[in-house]
Amino acid sequence: MTHWQGKLELTYAKQEGATQMIHALNHAPLKVQRPFYPEGEQICHTVGLHTAGGIVGGDILMQNLHLHPRSEVFFTTPAASKIYRSNGQQAQQQIEITLEENAILEWFPQESIIFNGADYCHKMRVNLAPNAVFLGWEITRFGRTARGEQFMSGEWRSHNEFWQQDTPVWIDRQWLPGHPETVQSLHGLANSPIVASFIALGLPNSTSLLENARQLWPTPPQRGEFGLTTTQNQGLLCRYRGHSLTEIKQRFVTLWHFLRQNSLSRPKLHPRVWM
């Protein structure tokens, strides 16, 4: 069986008020749609694609995004990623993102579905220059829940690291060995198939942001647990563990829209690719 060594390299620059994709390189199965500008030329919308059905053991996918000063990018994917049961080898995804001064990246890929028995390692490192902004989420479903599947074997690692000027600000190295103990225990998944994190870095005034963001929902979610805290350097972090993709996407979109309006002076956005 052949393994993919996919690659996607994108570079953006702000030129006369417009964010242009000045360099794009891709190796299958990764591809990128032609950039588009539904909010005007200052924000480049980019949809990254995985053109094979899913990710298998031995696959190595690399993505590299570089935003030059003041460039503004919204990045998403059109569908969930699937990580299949391992054939004995680990599947890897490595993402390196560099945000130069005053660049803004909104990074909202759709969820990953980790099949039972998958062996998957996702590594993302984001380097932020002064005043660069990163807003993003990671949403993971363990097992094909509709079939009653749980993540009882395999291994999942997701290392997300955020550095500001060579100092680590937020290092989130999540590890879940597939096992009844980790899936069922209160300490691990508590029988919830979905975990998700939302992170915002580089926005000013996060203490009041945190207080205001906590007021966005009058009640706790019905099908999961949800909470907000701060990282170093005034980052905002949100965690979810629960049963409903709809519930968490609604909450994350509410939070995202709140941050967009309050901190970036941008209107709410409803990306068409999600509909």
Partner: protein, 238 residues
């Protein structure tokens, strides 16, 4: 009394016994760093009635030891230990920054810094040889980093340092559980004893862990600690 010196040439204090006494001091619940004032999420779990007996308390602690933040933190403690032995101040500073960045919530990060600050003042008051090392760590400094630094300086073995650190952590949270659930003192000590095989096993794992494998399963702890940050009435600090 400033910087008391210990008569190391005394026949009654051979170096191994001295190391043992130093370790007992460092890992003692009486070490004035305020560990007893933190519950690391237990208080909100008890309030939500998710932890309500010795069994559920011990399985939480067992999971945390096997997969959680304490395992990751202790692995970084070991790196601070080795950096101290190598007199590598830059590495101490790097691991300290790294540990700060991995703390799951504001509350857990501030706990680590507050206890680190208290241990820093204590070490500098105990022994002047700590001053250049602690300055290399940088500020704010994490408790686990200074624990590793002190253990290395006092020639305690890495394995005993790790086991004692885990024991001291577990003992503190067992006491938290005894107050919160509440449980009898004997039940608490039985729970602690039950954790010994896991503490020993995890100690061996931590000694072998590669940098690439530094990771933890943080969902339960992060949500419990976040919930504690806004809990209305609390015995334990946030």
């Amino acid at each position: 009394m400033d910087n008391p010196t210990i008569p190391t040439n005394s026949a009654s204090l051979n170096p191994e016994t001295l190391s043992l006494l130093r370790l007992l001091q460092l890992a003692s619940p009486a070490l004035p760093v305020g560990a007893y004032s933190y519950s690391e999420g237990l208080e909100s779990l008890v309030e939500q009635k998710k932890l309500d007996n010795l069994h559920s308390l011990c399985s939480w602690l067992e999971q945390e030891l096997r997969y959680g933040a304490i395992r990751l933190e202790t692995a970084i403690l070991l790196r601070a230990y080795h950096s101290t032995k190598a007199a590598d101040g830059a590495a101490l500073s790097r691991w300290n920054a790294w540990l700060s960045a991995t703390r799951e919530t504001q509350e857990l990060r501030e706990q680590s810094w507050q206890m680190g600050g208290a241990l820093l003042r204590l070490l500098v008051g105990l022994d002047s040889q700590f001053t250049p090392l602690t300055e290399a760590v940088g500020s704010p400094c994490n408790f686990a980093i200074l624990f590793g630094l002190a253990a290395a300086t006092w020639d305690i073995s890495p394995k005993e340092t790790i086991a004692a650190y885990l024991h001291s952590w577990a003992s503190n949270l067992i006491n938290g559980g005894v107050k919160l659930i509440p449980l009898g003192q004997t039940a608490g000590q039985q729970g602690l004893t039950q954790l010994y095989p896991i503490i020993l096993q995890v100690t061996e794992e931590i000694l072998q862990l590669e940098d690439e494998d530094l990771a933890s399963c943080g969902w339960g702890l992060a949500l419990a600690s976040i919930s504690h940050e806004t809990q209305y009435s609390r015995l334990f600090r946030s």
